[in-house]
């Protein structure tokens, strides 16, 4: 444990160096998260004549810009690395190091965060400049909690990817399963359309599933759609999901590593 903690700063520096080295790849990643902008254009067209529910054009703009920021900063991409390394057998090198592979993956992801934060600055400026501070929540507690909700969102994303990635130990490639996850995420996280606008039964389902806590929960909180008590309740639920997924990741990786045979190693 102590050894792992001592290694983390170095691993983070390596992660940052890697992110800087592969800037182009980073840019490709960032560009692939522009879906909120497309949805913003679409929903503005929908709301041009009259607001939809609680959402007018300004609310949609706030929602999707906040969604872009959360998505930029809560993104993880460990699933591709895990799938690739398990299939190619290169995971063996990672296993030789005296720290858990998930820790090294996590450090690589977190190490890239400064670049992602920089990328989200223009979006934040744009949102504040065009919409004004008034469009966002004034509750100091919720403002203070916002970073925590983004961290929670990142943890859920990362851990879910780790769990699905661990399936690759059993079925060689879990990318189809992940595709399924991504499809559910697209609808249930509020990435495409705010959950409020869903039919009632779909909204209720979405509120219980983990997907919402990866995106729309922080977003709705920061744009002031969620009152304080509800926000605190959802925060608790979000972190419950984090704990459950952390346990699941630990179990699946322990079971998976036993099965692991380095192909082509």
């Amino acid at each position: 444990m102590r050894r792992t903690l001592r290694a983390i700063p170095t691993l983070l520096r390596v992660g940052l160096a890697e992110a800087v080295a592969y800037r182009a790849e980073m840019l490709v990643w960032l560009l692939s998260t522009t879906m909120p902008l497309v949805m913003l254009a679409l929903m503005s067209a929908v709301a041009r004549e009259a607001p939809v529910g609680r959402f007018g054009q300004a609310e949609f703009a706030a929602y999707y810009l906040a969604a872009l920021v959360v998505r930029l900063n809560a993104g993880a991409w460990v699933i591709w690395e895990v799938n690739f390394e398990i299939r190619q057998g290169t995971l063996a090198f990672r296993l030789l190091r005296p720290i858990h592979p998930l820790v090294s993956y996590a450090c690589a992801n977190v190490g890239a965060m400064p670049l992602r934060l920089i990328a989200s600055v223009p979006v934040i400026i744009l949102a504040l400049a065009t919409l004004g501070v008034g469009r966002f929540t004034h509750d100091p507690l919720l403002l203070a909690l916002f970073p925590l909700t983004v961290v929670g969102a990142w943890l859920i994303t990362f851990l879910a990817m780790a769990v699905i990635g661990a399936l690759a130990f059993a079925i060689d490639s879990s990318s189809s399963v992940f595709e399924l996850w991504l499809g559910l995420y697209g609808v249930f996280s509020g990435y495409l359309i705010p959950l409020e606008l869903f039919p009632r039964w779909l909204e209720v389902t979405a509120k219980l599933l983990p997907f919402r806590f990866m995106l729309s929960f922080p977003v709705e909180m920061i744009i002031g759609l969620t009152p304080r008590p509800a926000a605190l309740r959802e925060l608790a639920l979000q972190w419950t999901y984090v704990v459950v997924l952390a346990l699941a990741a630990r179990i699946t990786w322990r079971a998976g590593l036993r099965r692991f045979a380095a192909f082509g190693g």
Partner: protein, 262 residues
């Protein structure tokens, strides 16, 4: 020409054989294709639950666009994307040498390297969506409209392919681009909406830079019989121009290829 057709046949047969090896994946992919087709309808159902018409498109007309989106997605993931992933991998590892050494056009070889036959289910799904949309409208497209739509389909495929060649070409310069296919897919997602909903800069981008409008909205217009012939001709020209540019860029980029392995 005959030789290339024979080669194409061989490559397709090889892809089929590979696909048959992974039967479980086969079933999962098939189930996923059906799931995706119906799942991609959720946003449009939600949006049209609020409004009867958006940017001049009724629900049924927007369904036709979604149908084209599903068909093109099948083309993209069945014929275009699998090879894309393979080429990027080739460039990264330097094994593109083996392709270049073969006595056939390299672009042809890499473009036909891998097909995902199971994706034809997407096309079937798209046809089903057309059927529902036209049934709800209470009319069927005229033979002329169908012919026009088929021409548009060829154009759309050409554009998609050209776009793909451009993306692959960039892999010669920035080597680590495993996620290019992911980018292509996520941008392509915007094509499920009629292009008229986009205003300003997005509209320009989606018509000229990444011509999503030409891939789904114009074919849908053709099928609905509302596409002006002049516009159709423009799409045809655009498709040819895009293909020419892609070919040119490919030839230039491959000149920059330096084997990565040894």
């Amino acid at each position: 020409m005959r030789r290339y057709l024979t080669l194409l046949g061989i490559q397709v047969r090889a892809s089929l054989a590979v696909a048959m090896q992974y039967r479980v994946d086969f079933l999962v992919q098939g189930g996923l294709a059906l799931f995706w087709t119906s799942w991609s309808l959720v946003p449009i159902l939600v949006v049209y639950g609020q409004r009867t018409s958006i940017a001049g498109w009724s629900f049924e007309e927007a369904l036709v666009v979604i149908g084209w989106f599903t068909v093109m997605k099948g083309v993209l993931e069945g014929a275009v994307n699998p090879s894309l992933t393979a080429v990027v991998e080739h460039i990264r590892k330097g094994t593109l040498d083996f392709v270049l050494l073969k006595p056939a056009d390299a672009q042809f070889l890499v473009s036909t390297a891998k097909f995902a036959p199971w994706r034809t289910l997407d096309v079937v799904g798209g046809l089903a969506i057309f059927a529902v949309a036209f049934h709800r409208m209470g009319r069927w497209p005229s033979p002329g409209a169908i012919l026009g739509a088929l021409v548009m389909l060829v154009c759309a495929t050409l554009i998609l392919y050209a776009l793909w060649i451009l993306v692959v070409s960039s892999a010669f310069f920035v080597v680590k681009v495993d996620n290019l296919s992911f980018l292509l897919l996520s941008i392509f997602d915007a094509a499920r909406w009629p292009a008229d909903v986009f205003r300003g800069i997005l509209r320009v981008v989606f018509t000229v830079v990444v011509p999503l409008a030409l891939m789904t909205t114009y074919p849908a217009r053709a099928l609905l019989g509302t596409l002006a012939p002049a516009h159709g001709a423009l799409v045809l020209l655009g498709a040819l121009a895009f293909s020419a540019v892609a070919r040119f860029v490919w030839l230039r980029s491959i000149g920059h290829y330096t084997s990565a392995s040894s």
